[in-house]
Amino acid sequence: MSPVVDIRSLTKRYGKARGVEDVTFQVEQGEIFGFIGPNGAGKTTTIRTLLGFLRPTSGSARIFDLDVVSQGQEIKKRIGYLPADVNYYDDMRAGELLDLSARFHGVAASARIAELSQALGLDLGKRIRSLSTGNRKKVGIVQALLHEPDLLILDEPTSGLDPLVQHTFFELLRAEKEQGRTIFFSSHVLSEVQRLCDRVAIIRDGRIIDVERVDGLGVGQYKRVRVKLRNPGATLDLPGAHRPAGPGADVELIYRGGIDDLVKQLARHEVEDVWIEDPPLEEIFLHYYQGDAERSAADGDGVAR
């Protein structure tokens, strides 16, 4: 069976904005596929090309084995799209907009709209203008799901959603996946990709640098650790600590290794406070791809510290 999304040597160059160069990857039927990269890496450009908003400079993109440029109308019967920034007709009520969306798809979806809105806590009677960013996003989610598309294309779907709604949303996505639907979603937040995706493509500076299974993904093991020690003279001796900040009360480092080792090492000291979090993607890239001499040169200017 052919892949649901099949992008081959796709290049888009335009104006001042950075495009994408020679992008190739496939999304298979039934998987949740993550598309990660720092902001401005080319995720949205790729998605906008898939949707036919932009014409490819060269290369090709097919969805359901249909060409995105010439067969867009056929493709769009079967896809749902959630944009990074939801911009809908301000003067319409949420419910009116969703009805309009259903009419475009020629489906009677009032039951599904009601059900989805209830799950997300969306008030259909409100005008789009008066909705907060998070609530607009909810309208976008319902809009993307209401016609039960075979493929969901989600651009930064969680930005603007509070954690509780995010949780509900992820459950909705898992339910979609169980129905055999395919989900393609972009993000610059690694942890949400890890929680949800089967495979990921990593894009940087407009180029795909890796496509692999999430569980085999090296970057997943990185943590940013900040420790405040009671004893200012103490030093931490941690394997995989890429960036020990030297002796001092505050130690900050990017850690790659077993969490157990980290905790045991910390336990040897008098710890006043500790933060363990997902590092920003840019920072992970710096370390993950350090071995690549050519790339690390480019890394230098992208990283603040």
Binding site: R48, R55, K76, N87, L100
Partner: protein, 268 residues
């Protein structure tokens, strides 16, 4: 064409249409209501002409009209105003109906639905044409009613019909110009002033053409000059050259709009 989109466009722009379709006949009514008095006070066309300054006479070509007749009175005193204001309305509608979607980014909502870009253009253009035709029909019927109410020596409905067709053609030409403009210029902040300036420029060129002996060629640059009221009243028809020009502008602009919109990258 997407029927869903077409109906939605009609609904979204209904209020603007209703306002213009009420205001323009009302404006006409104020001036038409003065006609019976004007007629009684000026027993012949020459006397009537003396009511106006030489500049006005020259600019609006009043000397070639018999202003005591109701069609001429309408042609000289009201018609060009309706042409101008109607053009402002339709060019603004045409120039924003597509561009505003892109400017507000709502076009992303539209183009992920199962519609082609051509069908979007068709639905939008059709909505503007419907309102343009409707406005001209309303104006024709309203003015006809006023003719019937205020006439003194009878009137020629045929001439009014030709004037009305002329108005429709001018408005359709501006629709196409505005629509084509908006395929290239997306930002509402830019497209509004440009489109209104185009209409005002055309009006200005009409005045230039009317007031200068040597500037006859300028007439070809202004749609308003194609439907000069004095010419139409005198000949009972719009000159064939102008009809061909209208047809060319409308056809070429429409074709170009489709071609360009189908190929363009949507602005982010």
């Amino acid at each position: 064409m997407s029927g869903v989109l077409f109906r939605n466009e009609l609904r979204r722009h209904r209020r603007g249409f209703l306002i213009w379709a009420a205001v323009l006949p009302l404006l006409s009514l104020f001036r038409m209501a003065e006609y019976p008095t004007f007629y009684r006070e000026n027993r012949n066309a020459q006397a009537a002409l003396e009511q106006f300054s030489p500049t006005e006479i020259e600019l609006f070509g009043l000397d070639s009209l018999r202003l005591t007749e109701i069609v001429d009175y309408y042609g000289g005193r009201i018609y060009s105003l309706l042409l101008l204001l109607g053009s402002v309305y339709v060019i603004m509608l045409a120039a924003t109906i597509l561009a505003k979607e892109e400017d507000d980014k709502t076009v992303e909502f539209l183009l992920v639905k199962p519609v082609t870009r051509s069908s979007v253009v068709t639905a939008k253009l059709a909505a503007v044409v419907v309102y343009t035709v409707a406005l001209n029909l309303v104006l024709f019927l309203a003015v006809w009613g006023m003719f019937a109410a205020f006439e003194q020596e009878g009137y020629d409905l045929g001439t009014l019909a030709v004037l009305s067709v002329g108005s429709l053609l001018v408005h359709l030409a501006f629709v196409v110009v505005g629509f084509l403009l908006s395929v290239y210029v997306v930002r509402a902040r830019t497209v509004y002033p440009i489109s209104i300036s185009l209409v005002l420029l055309a009006y200005f060129l009409l005045i230039v053409a009317n007031s200068s002996e040597n500037a006859g060629w300028v007439r070809y640059l202004s749609f308003f000059a194609y439907v000069d009221a004095a010419d139409i009243v005198r000949n009972g028809a719009i000159s064939a050259v102008y009809l061909v020009l209208f047809a060319s502008v409308i056809t070429a602009g429409t074709v170009l709009s489709y071609l360009t919109y189908n190929r363009k990258d949507l602005s982010a």
